[in-house]
Amino acid sequence: MDFSFTEEQSMLRDTVASYLADNYSFDQRRAALKAEPGWRPQVWKAFADELGILGAAFSEEQGGLGGGSTDNMVIMEELGKALVVEPYLPTVVIGGGFLKHGKPAGADELIGKIIAGEAIIAFAYAEPQGRYTVTDLKTTAKKDGGGYVLNGHKAVVIGAPYATHLIVTARTGGGQREAQGVSVFIVPKGAKGVTTRDYPTVDGFRASEVYFENVAVGAEAMIGPEGQALPLVEKVMDEALAATCAEACGVLRQLHEGTVEYARQRKQFGQPISSFQVLQHRMVDMFIQLEQSISMTYMADIKLADSDVERAKGVSAAKVQIGKACKFVGQNAIQIHGGMGMTDEMAIGHYFKRATMIEAAFGSTDHHLARYETLSLGKAA
């Protein structure tokens, strides 16, 4: 048994942390989010060139550093600590995941572009009616000659405004909620017939409603087997969930530490509020939630390599813990900060907002509890 990180992983963590400390202060982030385009391409360029982290989770043959999901976890936790909006998750974890596991034609070339910071990917899977059920697809891909024609509407596609490519789930067959008939395509965002309505999200990202109107793609745009891509989608989404749990650990750490620090210096009734036992116990409970979340994130990372069922159980269990922790730690961080926690000026509220959005990311707490229940206990009578 070994929960330690390799020397390379520790160095990776230090590299990311020290870059973000110098270049990603709360004020720098805030200024960038308020301006257009709402993110900093130069930060992305630094990730690619200066830090070289975009290749950390790719194999050496693909031009990467030979790491894997644990490297993603290390990076995501650091990104969470600084509330980074630049699209590591959709590009490297999700985009990279589809390319690694689906191995479409041209995958290595595109991975090369990801590592170089030239290709940015957004994952268009959700639909207005579908909630968190990935098979609930109205978007269709009809065979047309040698290729496909896509039609449909994808909801709240995080990072789409700054993406070069979209990875899209669409139905090549089967009924609206059937497992059969799910296919995955990679589509250049500039393809004819792709339109977007862009907007900011409450936690500082940019997202789009993405509309496909008779978008023609070649056969090489398909990732994974036609109509049989659901296991691939679930695998990649579980990796995305594990990475999101790691990001959440970074967010939760900041919420907890920020609150303890604030409680030490804020005085009411002639003493620091940290001296009140009712608040001490609250902060201890926050700390316990944080520790449990870290444990479950490590567990999920280990389970990613297991069988499909064990992987799914592990990841959903972790997401349930993370969802509960995000709510408890986030709400109490604001409560203990009092009025100051309600201001846009203080970082704590921004961590709370991100934590709240993580609760629902890739499925709410209830969604993952139900998924775990079914996998562990079977279908309810």
């Binding site: 709240v156 999200t201 604001i334």
Partner: protein
């Protein structure tokens, strides 16, 4: 023991319902539904319609415009307003300041201020909290020194107030200031009415985490206030402050509004689809949470009714109001959580200034995250829920 409404009560309900259906401005309702930021005129226009009907200050003494309603009628009125989704009348003048003036003020003060408050002519704001004095309100530092100029007595006021809700619209404000720095914290405080146009008053916006501008800092720099604008005796403003805080808390249960909020969540969840493909309201996990919340709300409602019954036999809102504040705000916050949960992916879009992004996703999902974030304030303001528990521990349990 019964919950029956008398024929008079039923007739009153009919009258209230018809009045709201007839008179509530449609333009205002549309703005509310689109999640647009409401301006000063939006609030005041509705206030004036109520004033014309004679219903803008139901709880006041009859001579100043009160309606002399029974507690049951007040309860019906709050239910009907919630049912019609009307804007609440702003509490600062009608519910907070006016009771202080008609209880502690001089005849001149009553005549000068009460009619304008009732008729919605003056917008009031509250100057209580300070950067270092939130839950510990009595530690406030804003200083008022008495001076005489040309035979007139004034206070010169210096300090900073914060969390002043909608102070950007205010014509006047009521302020707690320290007139005796040497006495015990509660003993040296006075209650002043300050014209916000007085030189030296500066209002600066505080943007809250959901992106809205609702609260403000108010800076007071050598602000000259005539002594006749002090309510009650010098150094005894804490008496007024306490009375006001009790009134602030008594409305805070928000039972009628939460009932309406629950209806909205049910409506929302009946059209949203669950992961199983049915309606979200049919989803075992979600419906359980709705049911639990309904039960908690029912408990709160009956606790409030018992409090009201106590009030009707002549007691003021007492420490029961701390229970109402704690449970009322917890329920409001859980409702906001459920609405955000029901919105699913469409909880994420940021509404933006002036409702810029409305139209992304279904109407009922708009700004559910903003409401949830903003709603965290309710367990902080008006004496945080921790302070309310201290009050119960001390005053009720004698610990």
């Amino acid at each position: 023991m019964n919950l029956d409404f008398s024929p008079e009560d039923n007739a009153f309900r009919e009258e209230a319902r018809a009045f709201l259906a007839d008179k509530y401005p449609k333009a205002l309702r549309d703005k509310q539904e689109r999640g647009e930021t409401l301006g000063k005129e939006d609030y005041l226009s509705w206030h004036r319609i109520l004033a014309e009907k004679g219903w803008s200050a139901p709880s006041w003494p009859k001579e100043w415009g009160g309606t002399d309603w029974t507690p049951t009628q007040k309860y019906i009125w709050s239910e009907e307003q919630a049912r019609a989704d009307t804007l609440g009348i702003l509490p600062f003048g009608v519910a907070m300041l006016a009771p202080v003036i008609y209880t502690f003020g001089t005849e001149e003060q009553k005549a000068k201020f009460l009619p304008d408050i009732r008729d919605g002519k003056i917008w009031w704001c509250q100057g209580y909290s300070e950067p270092g004095a939130g839950s510990d309100l009595a530690s406030l530092k804003t200083r008022a020194e008495r001076v005489t100029e040309d035979g007139q007595d004034y206070y010169i006021v210096n300090g900073q107030k914060t969390w002043t809700t909608l102070g950007q619209h205010a014509d006047w404000g009521f302020f707690l200031v320290r007139t005796d720095p040497d006495s015990k914290p509660q003993a040296g405080i006075s209650f002043l009415l300050i014209d916000m146009k007085t030189p030296g008053v500066t209002v600066r916006p505080i943007i809250t985490l959901e992106g809205g501008h609702e609260v403000n800092d108010v800076f007071l720099d050598n602000v000259k206030v005539p002594v006749e604008n002090r309510v009650f005796h010098e150094n005894q403003g804490w008496t007024c402050a306490k009375a006001l805080l009790a009134h602030e808390r008594s409305g805070i249960a928000g039972v009628a509004r939460s009932k309406r909020g629950l209806e909205r969540v049910r409506e929302m969840a009946s059209t949203e689809l669950s992961d199983a493909g049915g309606s979200l309201l049919a989803d075992a996990f979600f419906r359980r949470k709705v049911a639990e919340l309904e039960i908690d709300l029912r408990a709160l409602e009956f606790t409030e009714l018992r409090t009201l019954a106590g009030e009707s036999s002549g007691k003021g809102p007492g420490t029961e109001s701390s229970i109402l504040k704690i449970k009322g705000t917890e329920i409001q916050q859980r409702l906001q959580e459920l609405a955000l949960e029901a919105a699913g992916h469409y909880g994420a879009p940021f509404l933006g200034e002036g409702g810029h992004n409305s139209g992304v996703g279904p109407l009922h999902s708009i700004d559910t995250a903003g409401d949830y974030f903003n709603g965290r304030k309710t367990s902080i303001y008006g004496g945080s829920n921790e302070i309310q528990r201290n009050i119960i521990a001390k005053m009720v349990l004698g610990l």
